[in-house]
């Protein structure tokens, strides 16, 4: 796998006239866990969709693996939506076989081993699974893809604390963070504090701070939660 890279230069995204993102530039290079942190409505989702090639910037450039992004970037990017995005008529088994056929980078073995660990019923239709299990299954699909870039939009939001902990564990266990670049958004910093290598703070569609998490702790002598409170105030 090539070294993962995400590159944004003067990226602005407007919906009608309303700007959702304003003049964002940064470059993320190398594997690791990158957290996009900010309140709801700060532009996190828009940013991640732009990176995943599912939106076009109104101006500026978004490149992943040195190529401008489009829907076709999905061969390098696994995107985990915050929505219930699975086909409800499939079973977990059908879902995994579907992905195995459709995505050459998909590891069926990895998917099934995660499923076994989660004790999911592979024959049950997805629409009959609990919300937590649907979230887990969605994650299994994203984590089974051996692609350089993983984009996860609010993987923890709207779930019970226990499920959230479980999901974090699943990500840590199965994301190949020594090779993959995992970028995830959340507004609950405390929960992911210890998992982040790198943070990107967002406010009102702007990127206000982008730094290595340990460097921030060292420099400021305070937690990311405290830093977030400081910079978002």
């Amino acid at each position: 796998m090539n070294e993962p890279e995400i590159y944004l230069k003067n990226v602005t995204k407007k919906y009608l006239r309303q700007p959702a993102l304003e003049n964002i530039s940064f470059q993320l290079k190398g594997s690791g866990v990158y957290g996009v942190l900010g309140e709801n409505g700060s532009g996190k989702t828009t940013l991640l969709k732009l990176i995943a090639g599912l939106l076009r910037p109104s101006s500026g450039t978004v490149k992943v693996m040195h190529r401008p992004v489009s829907r076709l970037s999905s061969k390098d990017i696994a995107y985990l939506s915050d929505a219930d995005s699975l086909y409800s008529f499939q079973s977990a088994q059908q879902l995994i076989h579907f992905w195995e056929k459709v995505a050459p980078d998909f590891s069926k073995d990895k998917a099934f081993s995660m499923i076994r660990e989660l004790n999911l019923d592979v024959n049950m239709k997805i629409k009959n699974l609990s919300k937590g299990n649907r979230a887990r299954l969605k994650l299994v699909i994203a984590l089974s893809r051996q692609v350089p870039v993983l984009v996860m939009d609010e993987p923890l939001s709207g779930l019970d604390p226990l499920v959230r902990e479980d999901i974090l564990k699943l990500i840590v266990m199965n994301a190949d963070v020594e090779q993959q670049l995992l970028i995830l958004s959340t507004h609950e910093v405390s929960e992911v504090e210890a998992f982040l290598d790198h943070v990107i703070f967002m406010k009102d569609g702007k990127c206000i701070l982008e730094e290595n998490a340990e460097v921030l702790r060292e420099q400021k002598g305070q937690s990311l939660v405290a830093t977030m409170r400081e910079v978002l105030a």
Binding site: Y15, L16, K49, A52, L54, L55, R56, S70, R71, L72, S74, K75, I77, A78, Y79, S81, A83, D84, S85, L86, Y87, S88, F89, Q90, H97, F98, K101, V102, A103, P104, D105
Partner: protein, 269 residues
């Protein structure tokens, strides 16, 4: 890869397909039973059946795409590491298979209905008309491939139009769908105009498959009175050329790849 997508589209659309078959069955039963009353409703229902088939791909593809977005599965669909033409052709093929099944069923039903109609009229028809009535079934059977061809062509055009309108609505927001409808109508208008340019006509008129005059002859031989009725309307008798069909398919394929390109490069979630 493609088969998995095709299978998924089948699974997704199965319910819609079943509903449409059930509705059609009700329609056929209705026509079969009520045709002797000669109510205008029978005629209306028959017309609806024909229209349903012409619009079949339009409705089904639009429904499939709208559902993909409404249920947020588009987040996954758009992220499939597969080229746009593969995604869209799987949808088109699934709907087209269902269309073929549905229209085959319609032809069988029409044949049965026609046979019953002929039996009914044979008893009551005036002397001079028995000839024409007795030839209705064989004529229907001979002409049905051409009707099928025309309906399929129309259905495909509308199906491609549905995909264009929907995908364009994800390219230009808001009101992309409106712009797409206008563009579709405009394109169709221009296309018809181009088709009728004598030079283009000459290029596409090769390998005639169906000769309009032969059909006419056949009708006249069975019903000599027809020649007088049709007199002076020679202009409407046309031929169907393989070249025309090829041109038609080529244009549809071009439009299809344009839509795939839009999906890959321009469409937004």
């Amino acid at each position: 890869m493609w088969w998995s997508l095709y299978k998924k589209e089948w699974q997704e659309s199965l319910f819609r397909f079943a509903v449409s078959l059930a509705l059609l069955t009700a329609a056929y039963v209705f026509i079969y039973i009520f045709m002797e009353r000669e109510t205008p409703l029978v005629f209306a229902v028959s017309l609806a059946v024909v229209f349903l088939h012409i619009f079949y791909l339009f409705i089904m593809l639009l429904a499939s795409l709208i559902k993909e977005w409404k249920e947020n599965t588009s987040h996954l669909w758009m992220n499939l590491p597969v080229k746009g033409y593969v995604l869209l052709s799987a949808k088109l093929a699934a709907a087209f298979t269902q269309f073929l099944i549905s229209i085959s069923y319609a032809i069988v039903a029409a044949d049965l209905i026609l046979q019953r109609a002929v039996r009914m009229f044979e008893d009551s028809a005036a002397e001079g008309l028995t000839g024409i009535i007795s030839m209705l079934v064989p004529l229907f059977r001979e002409l049905i491939p051409w009707v099928l061809l025309a309906v399929t062509n129309g259905a495909l055009q509308l199906g491609i139009a549905a995909m264009f309108i929907f995908i364009f609505s994800k390219v230009v927001r808001p009101f992309g769908w409106l712009a797409a409808i206008v563009l579709t109508v405009l394109t169709n208008y221009i296309y018809t105009w181009i088709k009728n340019i004598p030079l283009i006509e000459r290029i596409t008129e090769w390998t005639p498959l169906l000769k309009g005059e032969e059909i006419q002859e056949k009708i006249y031989s069975l019903y000599p009175g027809g020649a007088e009725i049709m007199d002076g309307s020679e202009g409407i008798v046309t031929n169907v050329y393989l070249g025309q069909i090829a041109a038609e398919l080529l244009v549809l394929a071009g439009a299809f790849f344009l839509i795939s390109w839009l999906l890959d490069r321009k469409a937004e979630l």
